[in-house]
Subunit: 403 residues, 2 copies
């Protein structure tokens, strides 16, 4: 037995405290709990039958051996082409050299950290922001600086202020991390005007923008907003996409879009991370895209999710005390609740568990430790009935703690 | 366009030179080239029909939705159990808490780097050693110290000497990286006596051993050697396994075996790397194991590879000048050639390309830049005819450069 394990772990991991949130989230697995804590797509949304046909055809075809062999680090050529065509149809002019496949979008976040972050570097993120992003950057020793959101996403005035202050100290963040569409966890979408403001500031201070957009195609209402990458296509933006929310997270396929010079570095980083993403699942996804059934599938799952969202919104309207606020998300998987300032949602969590309902306390999404009076609710995974019943239970727990 | 990309890349990647080896390896893809450069399993070895049946059954079963959903970071429970049972049958006493699934063994190397290596830390590896290991450790800023191999693998006397020297300077490596079975690239297997010597030294200096063993089950002759982990099961060893060489690399499934305290840290690291390995491919692999057809499959592919190895060995005997040496590998995928000292195999590579044959120059496997007169040949991927014809071509290129 090695004697000094704690001592030989690297600095970052040996300084990690045992995650309180991981411990309490185990409680969400208890029987009879209605859990709004996850971020999972609805199992009923998976196109099982279509996928079965595709896999059978694949394994009967000449592609079978290639699907089971090592693939290129950049990703399956036909999958990359099909994704590029899809983006072009949506108005984003990129070439195949601008897109690489990753082992889901989480790997995209990891690879970006791997090539950009030295211990002590700064990354700017929203308050709140996706926990998996915060953790990935933090694992490489990034110092996270948060910028508050308003109803239109990351506040441009505060971002500019922060960059000015940093510049005065001779500092510059490695990138600005944004989730412009139906933000996880806040559910907020940046209108085009805000996107342009953020781009303007990024250009002024010569900082990269990372646009993480897993929910982009899950819009239930309101007008389509152009991608930040579409609005700034000269190399200032890196975009991250994924099949996890529109096809199946079980495939673990995502992608990165960037200038070729950046993609080249990311490919080098991916080579040491996992050599390549499974060619088998990539070829399934490529055949799924090629079959032209993704769009009708999206119509179907958007109907499922919109209905679930509407049921949760209706239950919130009906049962929540007036002190509780939220923004109506136009898409995505999440609703974010604001409680009165005196609430501590981590404490409330234990009381909610007694009422047999679970959520994620909002402070974990805040890199500055704020957000104690907030919580994230997922409406995509629980059934419609559970979405309604869970809100009834949650409002009971909240009402018991109103002052 | 970001103005100073080179400047904002982190220290490690901005110091990377453009890889000469990646550039020359592109030449191996030219038409009519017989390439011994890869490390790919034979495409004819993939059990396509059996896998098709398994995938169809999976997607018809109640498991289908779980296969397409997010999974746990540790990996699919039934796959982990089946692997643990398999190891127990082979004499390795581990529990389920000691084994986690990774996105192929390359991710295992990456995660180990991620939790152990701070910039400037030392890792000890063989001279030569697997390039993907060297690269993964190097990406996290590790300083690599090489230890020469003899016909029984890493030399214990030199290892002890190196550790003594380091200790005198108050230093200790993070781990000793070994590939005990049919080493990549050298093809050498450590006998049990050498394994025990290495363990003794690791214990004495309180250093972890990383045992990377992708080819272990591909033994064509000679006696089975117990795993280093089997010989030292008190927490001094971490083992890395994979399905890539025994089932299909296209699934990207590997695993790590270690003390629970280490597995816990690796799981945290994996969570930010890719959340989980594809549950879809994991469930296919689990059903493949459960069907009990792996062992008969192994018999089949070992026959294929043994025959290919023997053909290459016979061709070497027949055509190579007597100045060229090699060790007969008892398993695995590689043969390693030693040429007279005045040879530079990177220069020879270009001449071999003219003869329409390719290999990997041995210096890339040497962290100290040595090995200029060596080369790695893969015998698993090319056809039997190509294995013979390629050696004829290669010996022609070598003979032209004999002094």
């Amino acid at each position: 037995m090695i004697k000094d394990l704690e001592e030989i772990l690297n600095r970052q991991i040996s300084s990690q405290k045992k995650s309180a949130i991981r411990e309490i989230l185990k409680l969400t697995q208890l029987p009879d709990i209605i859990s709004f804590a996850g971020g999972l797509p609805a199992p009923e949304s998976f196109p099982v039958k279509e996928l079965k046909n595709i896999v059978c055809e694949l394994l009967d075809s000449d592609d079978a051996h290639q699907a089971l062999q090592y693939g290129t680090t950049e990703g399956d050529l036909s999958l990359r082409e099909l994704l590029v065509y899809r983006y072009r149809d949506q108005g984003l002019e990129i070439g195949i050299e601008n897109l690489m496949i990753t082992t889901a979008s989480q790997q995209g976040l990891d690879l970006l950290s791997k090539i950009f972050i030295d211990r002590g570097d700064t990354v700017i993120c929203g308050l709140p922001s996706y926990l998996g992003g915060i953790s990935a950057f933090g694992f490489y020793g990034a110092r996270l600086e948060g910028v508050n959101l308003d109803n239109h996403g990351m506040r441009a005035d505060l971002l500019e202020e922060k960059l000015k202050k940093m510049k005065a100290f001779g500092e510059k963040p490695k990138f600005i991390y944004t989730i412009p569409d139906f933000q996880n966890p806040a559910g907020i979408t940046m209108p085009e005007s805000r996107r342009k403001e953020i781009i303007e500031i990024a250009r002024k201070f010569d900082v990269l923008i990372v646009e993480d957009s897993p929910y982009r195609e899950l819009r239930y209402e309101g007008g389509h907003q152009r991608m930040i990458y579409t609005l700034e296509n000269t190399g200032q933006v890196i975009s991250i996409g994924t099949f996890s929310k529109i096809l199946a997270p079980g495939f673990r396929i995502g992608w990165l879009i960037a200038e070729k010079s950046i993609i080249d570095r990311l490919v080098t980083a991916k080579q040491t991370a996992d050599l390549c993403t499974s060619p088998f699942v990539q070829k399934i996804a490529a055949r799924y895209l090629e079959a032209g059934i993704l769009d009708s599938h999206l119509v179907k799952i958007k109907n499922i999710y919109q209905e679930k969202r509407d049921i949760m919104l209706a239950a919130l309207e009906e049962y929540m005390p007036e002190e509780v606020g939220w923004i109506r998300p136009e898409g995505g998987l999440f609703l974010f609740l604001n409680l009165p300032r005196y609430f501590n949602s981590e404490q409330l969590f234990m009381q909610a568990i007694k009422e047999k309902v679970a959520f994620i306390p909002g402070n974990v999404f805040h890199c500055n430790g704020a957000g104690n009076n907030t919580m994230r609710l997922n409406f995509s995974f629980p059934s419609k009935e559970m979405n309604a019943e869970g809100i009834i239970r949650l409002s009971r727990a909240i009402r018991k703690n109103l002052r």
